[in-house]
C-alpha cells in the first residue's frame, strides 16, 4: 500500500525540490537567461566609464544558425545569476577556423590582448550569427564589404595600425568588382575575403598571405582560370613562377582596389593608359638592361602616329597590347609571339589588312639614331641643316640689303656722314 504513495511522494518532493532550488545551482535554460538579458536596459559599466548593453535580442538569436541550441552551449559557465563569464570559445566546435584565425594579423594581435581587432564576433556577429549563404548574414557575400569597412574605414584604426587610407577602400567600391557586387548585386564578384582570405588574413608582404606577390596570380585565377592559363605561358608568368619578383603579376597592370574594366577610361589597362602602365617597368633602364630588352620602347611609341592618336583619345589606334598581346605576351624571339618577325604581317593585319611581309620589314619602334634608323635620321638631319642654312642665308641677305641701303644713304646724304636723321 505504501509503495505507490511513496513513489508519488518522491516524485512530488523531487518536483518541489527542482522548482525551489535556486536557479544558479543548475544549468539555466534560454528562458531563464532571457529573464535578465531580455531587458533592453540591462548593461554593465566598464572601468573606463563606458557602458555595454547586455541585452540579447531573442528573436535574432532564435533565427540565427545557433538558434536551436541553448545559451550554455557557448557560455559554458553561465549560471543564473552570474558574474563576468569566461570568454566564449568558438573553436570548441569550429577548430579549423580558430586555428587559421590564430595565425592571422587579427588573431595575433588578439592573442596579445589587443581588443580593437575583430574576434569571431567582430565579423560574424554574436547572438545573430547566420550562415554565409543567408542574405541577412554579415558574412553574406554582398554584406562582407560593409562588415570589413566597419573598421577599415575608421581613420583612428587606419592610423593606429598603419593601414591603407580610406581612398584605397573607397576605390574598391568604384572598381569593377565593387560595382558588380554593390550595383549589380552579383555574388560572383570578388569581395574582400576572396583576395585577402577570411580567417587567415595577413598583410601582403608576408609570403603566406593570399595577397603576397607570388600568390596573386593563383588567387586571381580562382575566378579567372582561363586568364591564368594564358598568363602562366607568357614571359611575365614564367618569370613570376621562376621567382623573379619584378616580373609583373595581375595587380601590377590591373591595380588592386582600383581594378576597372578595360573599356573604362580610368582603368590602368584602358587603351589610353596602357602605354603608361607598361612603361612603368619597360621605360626603366634597369629592367631593359637586366633582361636584355630593347630600350626607348615607350618614347618611340609615343612619337609614332599610334602613340599620338592614343594619347589624344583615338582608342582605335594600336596600343602596346594590340601588337604584343595581353596576358599571353611573349618575347619577340619566340616563334609563337605576336611580334615575332614571321607573325608581324598577321599582327599588323588585324588593323591594316594590306600590311604584308613587305610592309613588316624594318623596325616598328623607330628609334631615330644612325644605328637604328639611318634613313630617317639622315633625312631629318638634312632638313635640319638645310632649314638652318636657309634661315641664316635669309638673314644675311636681308642684312646685306639693309647695310647697302644704309651705306648708300650715308654717302648720298647732303650733310655728310652725320647728316642723316
Amino acid at each position: 500500500m505504501m509503495r505507490p504513495f511513496l513513489s508519488l511522494a518522491v516524485a512530488v518532493a523531487a518536483a518541489v525540490l527542482f522548482l525551489t532550488v535556486p536557479a544558479g545551482a543548475a544549468t539555466p535554460g534560454v528562458g531563464e537567461c532571457m529573464d535578465c538579458h531580455g531587458d533592453r536596459t540591462i548593461e554593465k559599466s566598464l572601468p573606463n566609464g563606458q557602458t555595454v548593453s547586455l541585452y540579447v535580442d531573442l528573436q535574432a538569436y532564435r533565427s540565427s544558425i545557433h538558434g536551436g541550441s541553448s545559451c550554455v552551449t557557448c557560455h559554458v559557465d553561465a549560471k543564473a545569476p552570474h558574474e563576468k563569464l569566461k570568454k566564449v570559445s568558438c573553436g570548441k566546435c569550429h577548430g579549423d577556423a580558430e586555428k587559421s584565425y590564430a595565425g592571422s594579423s587579427h588573431g595575433k594581435l588578439r592573442a596579445k590582448g589587443v581588443t580593437d581587432v575583430p574576434g569571431c564576433d567582430g565579423c560574424h556577429g554574436a547572438h545573430d550569427i547566420r550562415k554565409p549563404k543567408d542574405p541577412a548574414a554579415r558574412t553574406f557575400r554582398l554584406n562582407i564589404v560593409a562588415t570589413c569597412l566597419r573598421c577599415h574605414k575608421d581613420r583612428a584604426i587606419e592610423q593606429k595600425y598603419n593601414l591603407p587610407d580610406q581612398k584605397v577602400m573607397a576605390a574598391y567600391e568604384q572598381s569593377v568588382h565593387g560595382m558588380a557586387s554593390k550595383k549589380s548585386g552579383l555574388t560572383g564578384s570578388a569581395v574582400c575575403v576572396d583576395c585577402h582570405g577570411n580567417h587567415a588574413i595577413l598583410p601582403g608582404d608576408q609570403p603566406r598571405s593570399a595577397t603576397h606577390r607570388q600568390n596573386i596570380p593563383t588567387m586571381c585565377g580562382k575566378c579567372h582560370p582561363g586568364i591564368l592559363e594564358q598568363y602562366e605561358k607568357s614571359v611575365h608568368g614564367k618569370g613570376m613562377r621562376a621567382g623573379i619578383a619584378e616580373s609583373p603579376v595581375c595587380t601590377d597592370c590591373h591595380g588592386e582596389h582600383t581594378i576597372a574594366k578595360v573599356g573604362d577610361p580610368s582603368s590602368s589597362v584602358s587603351s589610353r593608359n596602357i602605354p603608361k602602365t607598361c612603361s612603368g617597368c619597360h621605360e626603366k633602364e634597369g629592367i631593359s638592361t637586366r633582361y636584355a630588352l630593347p630600350k626607348n620602347r615607350f618614347s618611340s611609341y609615343m612619337d609614332s602616329f599610334h602613340g599620338i592618336a592614343v594619347e589624344y583619345g583615338m582608342t582605335k589606334a594600336a596600343n602596346c597590347s594590340s601588337c604584343h598581346g595581353v596576358h599571353d605576351i611573349l618575347p619577340s624571339a619566340d616563334p609563337a609571339s605576336t611580334v615575332n618577325k614571321a607573325n608581324l604581317p598577321k599582327t599588323c593585319g588585324k588593323c591594316h589588312p594590306n600590311a604584308g611581309p613587305n610592309f613588316a620589314k624594318g623596325d616598328v619602334h623607330v628609334e631615330i639614331s644612325p644605328k637604328k634608323a639611318m634613313g630617317v635620321f639622315a633625312v631629318r638631319l638634312f632638313y635640319t641643316i638645310f632649314i638652318a642654312a636657309l634661315v641664316i642665308l635669309f638673314a644675311l641677305h636681308v642684312g646685306l640689303e639693309l647695310y647697302g641701303r644704309w651705306s648708300r644713304r650715308k654717302e648720298n646724304a647732303p650733310g655728310g656722314k652725320e647728316g642723316q636723321s
Binding site: I308, N358, Y383, L390, L400, E401, G404
Partner: protein
C-alpha cells in the same frame, strides 16, 4: 588698266584669278601649318592646346585633309592655268630661272657691298620672286605626294615597307617646316618689311602696284609696258 588707274599711276600686277589663288594658298597653308605642326610637336603644351581646340587628333586630321585637298586642287588648277591659258603662258615664260637670275643675284650682293655701281635691272620677276615661286611649288608637290602616301596608308602598305612611310612622315613634316620658314621669314619680309614696300605691298589685295614702284624694282618690266604704250 582703266583710265583712272593710269591717272593714279597704278599698274596691274596680279589679276583677280591670281589673287584668288594666292588668297586660297595663304588661308590653306595657315590651316595646314596650324594643324600639322600641332601633330609634329605634340609634346609641346601649345600644340596640345591646339589639338584640343581642333577637337582632338581625329578631327584635326579631317581639317588638315580638307585643307590639303583644296590646296592640291588649287595647285592642279594653277598648273593647268599656267600651261594652257592666255594669261598664264606668258607668265610661265617669265618665271623660268636663267643664267641672268644668277648673275642678278651676285650683282645685287656686290651692289649692296658697294663693289657694283648698279643694282640689277629685273624684268617682271626678279630672282627673289622666282626662288620663292619655284621653291614653294616644289615644296607643295613633295608635301602633297608624301601626304597622299600617308593619307592612303592602307594603299601604301601594299607597295612600301614601313620604313618608307616612316621616311614619308619625316619628309612631310620637315618639308612643312621648310615651307613655313621660307614663307614666314623670307616672303613676309619681302612683302611687308622690305623698305620698298613697308608696311605692305598691296598687290595681293588690290592687284595693283604704283608705276613708281615698278620703275624702281622691275625697271625692265616698266620699260616694256611703257614701250607697249600701256603706261
Amino acid at each position: 588698266m582703266s583710265r583712272a588707274d593710269l591717272a593714279a599711276g597704278k599698274v596691274i600686277r596680279l589679276s583677280l584669278l591670281f589673287r584668288v589663288q594666292h588668297l586660297l594658298l595663304t588661308v590653306l597653308l595657315t590651316v595646314l601649318a596650324v594643324t600639322g605642326f600641332a601633330l609634329m610637336y605634340h609634346e609641346n603644351s601649345l600644340a596640345q592646346w591646339i589639338i584640343r581646340m581642333e577637337g582632338g587628333v581625329h578631327n584635326r586630321g579631317i581639317v588638315h585633309r580638307v585643307a590639303a585637298v583644296l590646296l592640291m586642287a588649287n595647285l592642279v588648277y594653277h598648273v593647268f592655268y599656267m600651261l594652257l591659258s592666255r594669261e598664264g603662258k606668258p607668265e610661265m615664260r617669265q618665271l623660268f630661272i636663267g643664267r641672268q637670275d644668277i648673275d642678278d643675284f651676285f650683282q645685287s650682293l656686290r651692289y649692296n657691298l658697294g663693289t657694283a655701281k648698279e643694282y640689277p635691272r629685273f624684268g617682271r620677276y626678279g630672282y627673289k620672286e622666282k626662288f620663292q615661286y619655284w621653291g614653294a611649288s616644289a615644296g607643295i608637290v613633295l608635301i602633297s605626294l608624301t601626304g597622299i602616301m600617308l593619307w592612303a596608308e592602307e594603299f601604301s602598305m601594299v607597295f612600301f615597307p614601313k620604313v618608307v612611310l616612316d621616311l614619308a612622315i619625316v619628309i612631310h613634316g620637315y618639308q612643312g617646316l621648310l615651307a613655313f620658314a621660307v614663307l614666314f621669314l623670307w616672303h613676309l619680309y619681302n612683302v611687308h618689311l622690305h623698305p620698298s614696300v613697308f608696311p605692305m605691298n598691296p598687290s595681293w589685295i588690290t592687284g595693283k602696284v604704283s608705276a613708281e614702284w615698278l620703275r624702281e624694282e622691275h625697271p625692265l618690266e616698266y620699260e616694256k609696258l611703257k614701250g607697249e604704250g600701256l603706261l
